[in-house]
Amino acid sequence: MIEFAQLSYRYPDQPQVCLDQVSLALPAGSFTLVIGPSGSGKSTLLRCLNGLVPHFSGGEVAGSVRVAAYDPIALGPRVMSRHVGMVFQSPEAQFVLERVEDEIAFALEHAAVPREQLRIRVEEVLDLLDLAPLRDRLLTTLSGGERQRVAIAATLALQPMVLVLDEPTSQLDPQSADDVLQALVRLNHDLGLTIVLAEHRSERVLPIVDLVVALDRAGRVVSGPPREILANSPLCPPLVTVARAAGWQPLPLSIKEARPFATRQGLAQQDAIAVGKTGEAGRASETGSPRPPRPYLEIRGLEAGYGTTPVLRNLDLTIAAGEITLLMGRNGIGKSTLLKCMIGLVRPRRGEIRIAGRSIAGRDIAAISRELACLPQEPESMLFADTVADELRTTLRNHRLPVNEALIDELLAQLGLSERRERYPRDLSIGERQRVALGAISITRPGGLLLDEPTRGLDYEAKAMLGGLLRQWSREGTAIIVVSHDVEFVAEIADRVLILGQGGLIADGTPWNVLGNSPLFAPQIARIFPGRGWLTASDALQGLQDK
């Protein structure tokens, strides 16, 4: 169905090739996962399938691509849109109209599909993706997952042979991401649709794919069955890391496949005495000392909401200096509202918030953010200066603080951005841009940090770097609060986990206590080794070694 033969591609004005002599073949009806670090060319590879590369991007191409009998490089996206459908990362950046049904029909109208057939096709895709109840809804009123399913439906309406998806779940919460992936599995199994999907968080996708294509930073590609590729890939989920280290064969890709190995080694269940011994106790010793008792942020009797709708009710919370607290909960439950209350962007109806012993009531946002800095969900909204160093200088000038170049150098070194100091921030990778924004808010050396969904769109390497940085700052005494849906990241870095339910906190405890037995939030390792107090790959590896 899809064949790349010695395909090389270089973007305009770039000295290095993005794809280097890529040769691979994907059979019809297969479900393929494309993995690789940020900037390795995953999106470029996908865009070769419908001719967006080179027709939209320009650049130099050598070699060939074939999709069925078609040559996307010669035919271009206009013709290939009939054969290859493409869904992008951000659902709202691909919509033209405002209602679900109209959006699905738009491409068909443009392709002059006869009316009778048009009607049938719209009904079919509405049913295929469970969108019929939402057909009259405004797109702005849908959740992220629903919007992404509308984008897939709009693409499928043209009845392509191949569906290509570029990180379609990277901006979604776990439930919405699962909805989208289940829809893809149905399309692949029931319709035999060939699917090619690029995704950073492979743990969700590996159990359902037939093939994996792995790219490296030099633009080289290897492809094959998931077990074969993951046996040597550095980009693998915790489950595979542990399975490789333990020598489990054949390599398990899902919790279901991994459990028998754990049972055989007598590690599947453990009595309560051992709980937390290796995992959390281990991490406590890593951080050096027990949790510092000094409270940095105190919230008492907080009530907040929008209009007449209450979001938070009678919420009490204390965050200690040097503590990393993860805040979880489903979409729309009030996590971002709580963060906005803490930094003064939303005024509470009742209650008090104190930072370092001082109430924030009556203080302006600039003053609060010097003590409790906040990284918003879209760090790009912050960046506008010509260089990375200028972004940090701007914050110092905003706060009327002296521009201390030594301090800027030190922070850039901590952030791993010293070599990017004079680069234009928006030219950097997603992970690097996020670290620039983190530098821009933390250059004032605040005692507390709030981060709203900081792992969105980050690959494993970028996430590990962010986790390391947060650990370092917490050791230096910074109180850190992170809002995240990424349970694996939470399991890696959290000292404490809070779960926000309707109106207030419904769980507050150590990561193991809150996540360990949760059917919704438990990370992969906790599911494979229930009852042992292990949450991360390193917990499990340490535990296996001890055994």
Partner: protein
């Protein structure tokens, strides 16, 4: 069988309703009727507003701002009227001189007219889905219509992005003190907007949307038509050849229209929704027709549409029959509320 539409009346009916509304508001200077129209049009917008869509601009709130601004502006700049409220020293630049009640009322009426026009457009925009607006555009202008629809879809996105940028900059201590402080708000908004536009362009290209390249015949006709228009203008204004100019302009216009028609036929499109006219359209058209007759037909009550506070302020005349006729513009509300009882 056609897809169920949320639009209860035909897009053309809505367009006629809008035309009648704009004409009526433009002909009215009586503040009592203007207030009536403002509240009526706000009601139409509110009953047509789909669930989940926020009001982009509250017409009443806009009216408060526009009426206040109109009053202040007129008070400061117009010196006409008998009822002097206060006299500022004439040496004061621009605002010096008597401030009259009549000037203030005149300014308020201007604000009311503007607010009623905005409310009319608001009601039309709320009622008409973008797809229905596109369906009104002739096929030759389809790409232009899609560009317009993208622009309309982008408005709420841009407003949201502006909010994000403002909050993000506040979080790093940004405060607007002088005009230059606006750059940190403007630049990310502009760059973010461009990035989103590129993403959308790429997504649309992937879905097969690209302007059809015109054929050589169409190109020739367009070039010929534009050349004829240019020659016609030269003949008219440079050489004063009225007859030759008229003929040339006519030929130019015909060539351009023909080129557009040909271009439209070369790019076939189908329509998902086909809107049909029915009793609801009849009701809305009758309501609009009643209003139109009342404001255009020569009858005694029509005189009360006009009003001027100068030279001495007097109460405006209120003609109940005319007020009733103006309420014909509220027929979409009756159609929406009574939809379940209509065939």
């Amino acid at each position: 069988m056609t897809p169920r539409s949320l639009l209860l009346v035909h897009p053309v009916t809505w367009t006629i309703w809008l035309g009648t509304t704009l004409l009526t508001v433009s002909l009215t200077r009586n503040p009592l009727y203007l207030l009536l129209l403002l509240f009526g049009l706000t009601l139409v917008a509110e009953t047509e507003r789909p669930t989940g869509r926020a009001t982009p601009l509250d017409p009443i709130f806009f009216a408060v701002i526009a009426v206040s601004f109109g009053a202040l502006f007129n008070a400061a700049t117009i010196r006409y009227g008998d009822t002097v409220l206060v006299a500022l020293p004439t040496s004061w630049w621009l605002i010096g001189g008597p401030i009259t009640l009549e000037a203030i009322v005149f300014g308020m009426i201007n604000g009311l007219v503007l607010s009623a026009l905005v409310a009319g457009f608001g009601a039309f925009g709320t009622a008409m889905p973008i797809s229905a607006l596109i369906s009104l555009v002739p096929r030759a202008f389809y790409p232009l219509a899609v560009v317009m629809s993208v622009a309309v879809t982008y408005v709420p996105l841009t407003i949201r992005l502006a909010g994000q940028v403002r909050e993000a900059q506040q979080l790093r201590g940004h405060q607007v003190r002088v005009w230059r402080d606006g750059l940190p708000l403007l630049l990310p908004l502009l760059i973010g907007g461009l990035e989103r536009a590129l993403q959308l362009a790429e997504a649309m290209a992937a879905r097969g949307f690209a302007a059809d390249p015109p054929s050589n015949q169409v190109r020739m006709m367009l070039v010929g038509g534009l050349a004829a228009l240019f020659a016609g203008l030269l003949l008219q204004f440079a050489w004063g050849q009225v007859v030759a100019a008229s003929v040339t302009l006519l030929i130019g216009t015909a060539l351009i229209l023909w080129a557009l028609r040909e271009s439209g036929q070369q790019a076939p499109r189908t329509r998902y929704r086909v809107y049909r006219r029915g009793i609801r359209d009849m009701m809305v058209l009758l309501g609009a027709g009643l209003t139109l007759v009342a404001v255009l037909a020569p009858w005694p009550g029509r005189a009360s549409l006009a009003y001027t506070p100068y030279p001495t302020l007097q109460l405006p005349i209120f003609e109940p029959l005319l007020a009733f006729a103006l309420m014909g513009l509220l027929m979409p509300v009756a159609v929406r509320l009574g939809d379940r009882y209509l065939p």
